[in-house]
């Protein structure tokens, strides 16, 4: 039996800076995952990934990442995606230093 679909966000790396970005409802890229569009329907998620992938001059390596809804917006469910919202643990670099 195919695994049940779990909510997703479209994420990628920004073309110039290479940092993590997430795709929003209005077809822009945000550096705050909570602003991303949460995709709860599989067909819609696949479509949004295609649309995001077409924006080659803005990003690289788009994919669907698991996410869960929270009061603040979508949040990561896996530690890898959590790290992408923050930055490395050995220095105060990356997103944790910018926000």
């Amino acid at each position: 039996m195919p695994r049940a679909f779990t909510p997703k966000v479209v994420t990628a790396n920004a073309l110039l800076e290479g940092d993590a970005v997430w795709f929003t409802e209005d077809n822009t890229w945000t550096r705050d995952m909570a602003q991303a569009e949460l995709l709860t329907d599989e067909a819609h998620a696949d479509l949004r990934l295609l649309e995001a992938s077409a924006r080659q001059d803005e990003i690289a390596g788009p994919y669907l990442a698991d996410a869960k809804p929270t009061n603040d917006g979508p949040a990561p469910t896996h530690f890898r995606e959590t790290f992408r919202t923050r930055g490395p643990s050995n220095y105060n670099h990356g997103k944790q230093a910018e926000v």
Binding site: E17, G18, S89
Partner: protein
């Protein structure tokens, strides 16, 4: 040291010019990422979790002070003020911006450095013993051969699309400090009965998901045949290596599946076929390169001041006990500078530390520096009379940690703090182990012990050959760490054996503490190292220490 010829300089400049244009086309949107990716990888540019990463080759780990100063300049101008030295003698910048990478490559070319073939399915940076040209146990300096291999492999038209990446390591000493048996090709210098220098050629070693110890394909290869023979090996691999399955594509699998005898026959046959094409040009080139690696003009001076300083300053004495290695010249020493102060990230150096190291090399070290695969910086030629001054300068830069070869001298890959392939973090585990053993003040009592940590099965952190290896995995969405025991990366290369079930992130440091302190009760005397105790007793008593509850259950 080798200096670029006009050909080298023009070649690197042309490649940089091409890459600048490729980056411009990518940013303008006329190249997709799929089209651009192989091009950027050929120039050492990766895309990781939080940013791009540029991997710069430090051929056979050798740098002069001007190059080290330039690495510091790049760290300040284009990155966040530091660089990460890797287990393959490269330096990685973790925060470059795509549009600035061509400028970084030009800055590197200004000091005769590049990032070519630090990624992709090509022959990678050729590594060598970090004590090359200085070690007292050395037959000959292996770096001329490494440089010859660098020139031969760079843009070699036959080997730009190999089944998988290909790594070569060279050592000129019987004591293998270059992990040659864990490389696709390992070259270990030996002498034949006539006293001539040649190489024991090892093939098919590698770590990663299927660790294998390299096998000897030729006991003795004359230096004159080296290039033709290595070309024959890579050529046979290029033909036989599997392109259908990435996980079976390395030469270790090719050797394993076809058998060493078949590979040897094919290599010898190919060797005979191509040998006539090597009409001596390579040997002429090698002679020129050897000239460039002539030993420095060693000085003679009294070492009385050094001995007196040792007696007077216990901290200096401790540092000289752990961080020095015998030099082939009696008045000299090889200094290993630890860039692993307790709690710091293994392999990271700030731009200020790089400049201090460059200055010391210029003032006291015949202008030479090395990067070791164990992620430290080496001053290969230091007169003993200069050691007190060097120690004082290192102390000021937080570089005087006396821990070479000890528990806190940990190899760790970047892990999931940076790497897109990682399955768990390695850096914080290394930091916590080092900090904990510093608190316990036992690492000098524990003695020689190599802990190596990888954040995924690809084993960049060499965990398979750590006396204690730690492998970070993702187990059902949680970081989990497996321990291996008894690995060895020397001429007696052994793959460590898995101790048992993995440990959670907050359990791994206490488990290592238990294991190391437990060893102290198992050894016969303070002279018996962890590895020797492991060889004498086997894994069982160590497993009992790691899994006490299970042991109690079995006893009940």
């Amino acid at each position: 040291m080798y200096s670029y010829t006009d050909f080298d300089a023009a070649f690197v400049a042309e490649r940089n010019r091409q890459f600048r244009a490729q980056v411009e086309r990518r940013i303008a949107g006329s190249l997709t990422e799929d089209e651009f990716k192989p091009l950027r990888l050929m120039n050492g540019l990766y895309l990781q979790l939080h940013a791009y990463m540029l991997r710069v080759a430090i051929p056979y780990g050798t740098l002069n002070s001007a190059q080290m100063d330039q690495l510091a300049f790049i760290a300040d101008k284009f990155d966040k003020g530091y660089g990460h030295f890797t287990t393959r003698q490269n330096i990685q910048y973790n925060w470059p911006k795509l549009n600035e990478v061509p400028d970084i490559l030009e800055a590197l070319a200004d000091v005769e450095m590049h990032a070519l073939q630090t990624s992709g399915n090509t022959i990678r940076n050729v590594t060598a013993d970090h004590f090359a040209g200085a070690a007292s146990d050395e037959i000959a300096d292996p770096r001329p051969v490494a440089e010859l291999l660098r020139q031969w492999s760079t843009d070699h038209p036959e080997f730009q699309f190999l089944p998988r990446k290909f790594k070569i390591a060279v050592t000129g000493s019987p004591n293998d400090r270059a992990v040659t048996r864990a490389h696709d090709i390992g070259l270990r210098m030996v002498q034949n009965d006539a006293g001539e220098n040649g190489f024991e050629v090892i093939v098919g070693g590698g770590l990663g998901r299927t660790p294998m110890v390299g096998k000897v394909i030729r006991d003795f290869l004359p230096v004159t045949d080296l290039l033709a023979y290595v070309e024959a090996i890579v050529s046979v691999y290029n033909l036989l290596g599997r392109r259908d399955n990435k996980y079976k594509a390395r030469i270790k699998i090719t050797v394993h599946e076809n058998g060493l005898e078949t590979i040897r026959d094919m290599v010898e046959s190919r060797f005979e076929q191509i040998k006539p094409g090597f009409t001596g040009f390579d040997q002429g080139l090698l002679a020129q390169i050897e000239h460039a690696f002539a030993p420095p003009a060693f000085k003679t001076a009294s070492t009385d001041g050094y001995e007196a300083a040792r007696m007077a300053n216990p901290a200096f004495r401790s540092w000289t006990d752990t961080n020095l290695t015998a030099h082939k010249n009696d008045g000299y020493a090889i200094v290993s500078v630890s860039i692993k102060k307790h709690g710091q990230t293994p392999g990271d150096a700030t731009s200020e530390q790089m400049r201090v190291l460059a200055r010391i090399a210029r003032d006291y070290g015949h202008d030479e520096l090395r990067i070791s695969h164990e992620q430290n910086v080496i001053l290969p030629h230091v007169h003993k009379s200069d050691l007190p001054a060097i120690y004082a300068a290192l102390r000021e830069a937080d570089l005087a940690t006396a821990n070479i070869g000890l528990v806190s001298d940990i190899i760790a890959c970047p892990g999931m703090d940076y790497c897109a392939l990682a399955t768990a973090r390695s850096i914080p585990v290394a930091q916590q182990i080092a900090t904990r053993f510093d608190e316990l003040k036992v690492e000098h009592d524990v003695g020689p012990l190599k802990i190596k940590i990888s954040g995924c099965i690809n084993a960049c952190g060499h965990h398979h050959v750590g006396h204690i290896g730690i492998l970070g995995l993702d187990r059902a969405g949680v970081e989990n760490y497996q321990i291996t025991l008894g690995g060895d990366g020397t001429e007696d290369t052994h793959i460590g054996e898995r101790a048992g079930p993995g440990f959670a992130y907050d359990e791994i440091v206490p488990a290592i503490e238990r294991l190391v302190l437990g060893y102290l009760n198992l050894r016969t005397d303070p002279e018996e190292t962890f590895l020797q105790t492991f060889h004498r007793l086997g894994a069982d008593p160590f497993k009992a220490i790691l899994y006490p509850a299970k042991e109690a259950q079995n006893a009940a």
